[in-house]
């Protein structure tokens, strides 16, 4: 926003870059239950960082520790060089957008947004200006005098965002910011949220259970499960290079094949599975004979009615068990010889002449995939 320094798009790769938020060995226990388990995390200035996971994975607890509503059982949190251990929520340089929006029902939109500024004893004229500016940013300048109950879900969401943004916090925390919106509005709002974040230049930490939302919004994602990080990386890294079966399965969908390493070369791996041999064109240094899993994304498999010209690895065949027609793509459920069901998606690029699919139920089909498509997982 100030433009005093151009921020790198990938600050986490910069040598010696100072993280904006430092989370060190943070654990949170509720009685016997460990909600967050010894987490280390660096978040950099201007990032839109997502904590992604199912319910009860500890993502909200971590967010609440950043906002000050929970105190870590052990470990430390530093925001912009300041230790947050003994700082109550009302003195932190953070603001939070709550999942339920939690607008003050007895105040108008304007008063809701102005509430935070009034606490800082800012002159009235400045409060009015800032409220006006932020409401213009979220396109609600005509709704100032409305009460929350007179607003739609999307409008409430934007009031909550404006209320949290207007104090220009160093860090904005968003708890499931889009969960209460319907699908169309959610998709639209995702992009609005990104635009707003770019405009104000504030670091965002978003908690979500929606992997699509996380993928669209974030610079980086931390996938959480049982209070621990399963994987940390950019959306592409998380999706294309999952490190575990959990992540491969949680983000998008993946066909999982169990197998054994038969050959581990420097630039390739051969794995024997029920489906036949899988050839992967990059080395992974796994012991020969050890048990591994192969994950292949449904969209990375190709479907054909013609048998392959010559037999080889990365091939399979089966019967079409079911077809899910989604309009833009179709999901084919292919039953293999061993009765395992494999999902394959194919874009419907050509409008069919007749009103039936080219591939239809109970048809024998052949699958193949590229040597780069399969992901080898050891855990």
């Amino acid at each position: 926003m100030t433009g005093e320094q151009t921020l790198s798009d990938t600050p986490w790769l910069e040598q010696g870059a100072e993280p904006f938020i430092k989370i060190r060995g943070v654990t949170k226990k509720f009685g016997e239950f460990t909600a967050v388990d010894n987490i280390d995390l660096d978040i950099y200035q201007g990032e839109l960082f997502c904590l992604l996971g199912g319910s009860g994975c500890g993502k909200s607890t971590l967010l609440r520790m950043l906002s000050g509503f929970e105190t870590p059982t052990s470990g430390s949190i530093t925001i912009d060089g300041m230790d947050m251990s003994n700082v109550p929520p009302y003195e932190r340089p953070t603001n939070m957008m709550f999942q339920s929006y939690a607008l003050f029902p007895h105040m108008t939109v304007e008063k809701n947004v102005a509430f935070g500024l009034k606490q800082d004893k800012i002159p009235v004229a400045e409060i009015n200006d800032r409220v006006h500016d932020i409401l213009t940013l979220v396109e609600l300048q005509d709704y100032k005098k409305r009460k929350p109950q007179q607003l739609s879900g999307g409008q409430k969401q934007r009031v909550a965002l404006a209320r949290a943004l207007v104090k220009q916090p160093k860090l904005l925390l968003l708890d499931e910011p889009l969960a209460a919106l319907d699908k169309k509005l959610r998709e639209q709002t995702q992009f609005e949220l990104m635009n707003i974040q770019e405009k104000v230049g504030i670091t965002f930490v978003v908690v979500t259970h929606d992997q699509e939302e996380a993928m669209t919004l974030s610079t980086r994602i931390a996938v959480m499960n049982d209070g621990e990080f399963m994987q940390l990386g950019t959306p592409t890294e998380i999706y294309e290079f999952p490190e575990s079966r959990f992540v491969a399965d949680f983000i998008g969908s993946a066909n999982m094949l169990e197998g054994r390493i038969v050959e581990d070369g420097p630039d390739h791996v051969r794995v024997k599975t029920d489906l036949g041999e899988v050839f992967i064109d990059h080395g992974q240094s796994v012991k020969e004979g050890s048990r591994v899993w192969i994950a292949i994304r449904p969209e990375k498999m190709h479907l054909s009615k013609e048998p392959p010209l010559k037999p080889g690895p990365n091939q399979a065949f089966g019967m079409v068990d079911d077809i899910g027609y989604l309009g833009d793509i179709s999901i084919y459920k292919i039953r293999l010889e061993n009765n395992q069901i494999i999902d394959v998606t194919a874009p419907n690029q050509i409008r069919p002449k007749s009103r039936t699919h080219t591939i239809t139920w109970e048809e024998k089909v052949y699958l193949h995939w590229q040597a780069s498509s399969a992901v080898l997982l050891t855990k």
Partner: protein, 320 residues
């Protein structure tokens, strides 16, 4: 954000009802009006009718007879109807400062009691809301528990506690804190204790019902936006619990103003409240017209706060 244009909804033709379902529908409508009818009958017989009788007596004159007042309507022999109305009873009430003093004293005692109930009841209700589910049920039960004993009995119990040779004085003397018993019974102090003790649940229960709906997240939002706990209480919690405060206050204020038993038993002759005055006029002086006028004036004194309550209630409903 674009709103999708509303599609014209074509009303489907009403389905043809069979004779049976038509009958069922009519019976349903009949039931509905009966259900609505019952409370109206109740209100008419037990509120409106007695009110008119009292209002009639209040504009009559005292007469040494049974009943001890003049008729409203008299039929002369030639069939001419005369209506006799006198407002002397009302002017008498306003002229004799005994009545105005008693009204003011009643309002003072009930106002102060209401404020005391609020100051004690609000933290209790808030505490109950903030406690765990098991503790909450137990505490709520404890609030309702006194209703299981007779109200009169509980007031008598207070007499035993507050008397010169009562439990409290005995304990204090035994502890050596005082030499002479403190005079507590038959004073305004005792009346306050009695009223606050008796009406406290009527303050706590509406407050509890109101606070139960309060979203605890709002406190976190306020804290997150930089508001300290005290400020959050005055800017968020207090305004949002106002409907509960008003409901509870009226439930204490209205019956406390007309309270008879507590000032009679705990205040003795030293505390003049309107309920006692009314009793005296009616039973000792056998002046039914004046007693009725006192009651009518009291009613209007209490209708005022009730109207205010209705107004706020309506406004709160509008907001929801």
């Amino acid at each position: 954000m674009t709103e999708t244009s509303a599609l014209a909804v074509v009303d489907p033709a009403p389905p043809r009802l069979g004779a049976v379902s038509q009958l069922a529908r009519r019976m349903q409508a009949g039931w509905r009006s009966i259900v609505i009818f019952i409370p109206y009958v109740w209100l008419f017989v037990f509120f409106l009718l007695p009110f008119f009788i009292v209002a009639k007596i209040s504009v009559a004159e005292l007469k040494m007879a049974s009943p001890p007042y003049t008729d409203l309507i008299k039929w002369a022999e030639d069939g001419i109807m005369t209506i006799r109305i006198t407002f002397e009873n009302f002017t008498y009430i306003f002229e004799d400062d005994l009545y105005s003093k008693t009204y003011i004293n009643s309002l003072k005692i009930s106002s102060i009691s209401t404020i005391l109930c609020l100051l004690i009841g609000y933290p209790i209700a808030y505490g109950i809301i903030r406690s765990g589910p098991v503790a909450r049920r137990l505490l709520l039960f404890a609030i309702i528990l006194p209703f299981w004993t007779s109200f009169l009995l509980r007031v008598y119990a207070w007499m035993g506690l507050l008397a010169d040779r009562g439990t409290i004085n005995n304990v204090l003397i035994w502890l050596g804190l005082i030499d002479e018993p403190i005079r507590m019974l038959y004073s305004e102090f005792a009346v306050y204790i009695g009223i606050v003790y008796t009406y406290l649940p009527f303050m706590i229960l509406p407050l509890y019902a109101n606070m139960e709906k309060l979203d605890a997240t709002l406190n976190e939002v306020a804290a997150d936006l930089g508001s300290r706990p005290m400020n959050t209480f005055f800017k968020v919690t207090l305004p949002l619990t106002m409907p509960g405060i008003i409901a509870g206050s009226l439930l204490v204020f209205i019956p406390a103003t007309g309270e008879y038993v507590i000032p009679d038993l705990l205040g003795g002759g030293n505390v003049l409240m309107i309920g006692r005055l009314l009793f005296n006029e009616f039973n000792q002086n056998v002046d039914w017209p004046t007693a009725s006028a006192v009651a009518i004036v009291l009613l209007f004194l209490l209708v005022l706060p009730m109207t205010i309550y209705q107004y706020y209630q309506g406004k709160a409903m509008e907001d929801q």
